[in-house]
Amino acid sequence: MNSAQVTDRAAIEQQLIDLFVTDGMIDRSAIKPDATLESLGIQSVDIMMVLMSVEEKFGVYVPIDEKLADTKNLQGFIDHLIDRIAQERKTSAT
């Protein structure tokens, strides 16, 4: 991974955290990488709201697959979304 990709990843991560705050209605101060979705009070309905915004912002449809369903904490969830966005960009670039 080169430095440009790292910066890109960090920028996407920041945008995703913003989505959790606005659409998932999560208190920004409660957001920590190891915070569990449960401890943040994130329910299935909030996840759908966030995923809809991800689609609007990044043009990537993220279905609820095993990996997403198995994520336990916020960082895992965000990492999965970043991977999907990166994968989609790679596919549309080729």
């Binding site: 299935s44 996840i47 689609e55 279905p63 609820i64 997403l68």
Partner: protein, 404 residues
């Protein structure tokens, strides 16, 4: 209260697999998926590009112009399926069925195509509206058209419980016959809601797969929407015998339950309660159930929850029962789905063949059952169960046995 035996004397279907119950069964048995690129009359901004759609349907081949002008696509599907079922039961339109006959048809959203058309014309084009929109859209339209078509003047109504609609319609019809309230019940489900807006609505729930529906498999990513109708003719075994009708199967048991918990998240306890009630109502020991046609949507959560519920019912025997989902064949036709699946289940039992769960890649530890992966299997089936679990937490299961 009487406890009449309830037999099935006619089956009819229209689905992405084509017109006819035989076409549906052949597709299910051979693992031929009806899912393909979806075509919308008014394309929208959709991410999901696939569905099990009925393409090139021409209602004029099946009904008169007057009926067509008064009916939505979901009613037209119900008519096509019901005419086939009535013909197999050797019941004719000339001989009105009268007050001893019920019609109960399930649907998720009724005449959605007509509603979508009206909203588009009213809000966008400002053109001339179809004056019969309301009677086309109403959820009871399919049941009412069938009641007029066959002269059924007994209980007629729609059941609307999303994905459990058809199983509840069939179950309630069977209970009416069992209790002696009617002699005949025309039951099933119909759905025709594949518009760009409707699919978009499902996309937002994140339960649609962008590529392959693969129930109970590792790497599954969701379901695919379908459309169609399935209709069954149920009769009191005695009156059916008296008129010389041939029984195809017996509806032995019906059970329904509500999770009363979450609108979209399924609960294993509620699903198990419906299955337990259906088996108890059949009077059979669970050991006699050899095949289960699962709800099996292909979403991560449904299939794991359904497996857990099945484990509660069948315990260690679960691995020995064939449990398949035929949704990758006919799609998830919402209010029609459990009717299509019960028709497949009856064919499976009569032929002694368990249809496969196609697109299956590898076992998921959370779905530790025998999904009959990818290829049909010969299997003597004494009794079978067909499951449906709906948004809203409504569960319904039907148990069928061989006709004696």
């Amino acid at each position: 209260m009487p406890h009449n035996k309830v037999v099935v004397t006619g089956l009819g279907a229209i689905s992405g697999a084509g017109i006819g119950a035989d076409a549906l069964w052949a597709a299910a048995r051979e693992g031929q998926s009806a899912i393909g690129p979806v075509e919308f009359e008014r394309p929208g901004q959709n991410t999901i590009k696939i569905a099990a759609q009925i393409k090139g349907f021409d209602p004029a081949k099946h009904m008169d112009a007057g009926t067509i002008s008064l009916s939505d696509r979901f009613t037209q599907f119900a008519i096509v399926a019901a005419d086939e079922a009535m013909a197999q039961a050797k019941l004719s339109r000339e001989q009105k069925l009268g007050e001893r006959a019920a019609v109960i048809v399930g649907t998720g959203v009724g005449g959605f195509t007509s509603l979508d058309d009206m909203m588009y014309i009213y809000n966008v084009t400002k053109g001339r509206l179809q004056p019969m929109t309301i009677p086309r859209v109403m959820s009871n339209a399919a049941a009412c058209h069938l009641s007029m078509r066959y002269g059924c003047t007994g209980p007629v109504f729609a059941v609307s419980s999303a994905c459990s609609s058809a199983n509840q319609a069939i179950g309630v019809g069977a209970m009416l016959v069992r209790a002696g309230a009617v002699d005949t019940a025309i039951v099933g489900g119909s759905e025709a809601s594949i518009t760009a807006s409707y699919i978009r609505g499902w996309e937002l729930l994140r339960v649609l797969t962008p590529d392959y529906c693969r129930p109970f498999s590792a790497k599954r990513t969701g379901m695919t929407i379908g459309e169609g109708a399935g209709i069954l003719i149920l009769e009191n075994a005695e009156t059916a015998k008296a008129r010389g009708a041939i029984p195809l199967a017996e509806i032995a048991g019906y059970g329904t339950s509500s999770d009363a918990k979450d609108l979209v998240r399924p609960d294993p306890a509620g699903a198990a309660a419906a299955m337990r009630a259906a088996i108890e109502s059949s009077g059979l020991p669970p050991e006699e159930i050899d095949y289960v046609n699962a709800h099996g949507t292909g979403t991560v959560i449904n299939d794991a929850v359904e497996t857990e519920a099945l484990r509660t019912i069948f315990k260690d025997r679960l691995g020995k029962i064939a449990v398949s989902s035929t949704k990758p064949i006919h799609g998830h036709a919402i209010g029609a789905s459990s009717a299509l699946e019960l028709i497949i289940t009856i064919h499976a039992m009569r032929e002694g063949v368990a249809p496969p769960t196609i697109n299956w890649l590898a076992a998921d530890p959370k779905c530790d059952l025998d999904p009959v992966p990818n290829k049909a299997r010969k299997l003597p089936i004494r009794a079978a169960m067909s499951n449906s679990f709906a948004f809203g937490g409504i569960n319904a299961a039907i148990v069928v046995t061989q006709a004696q």
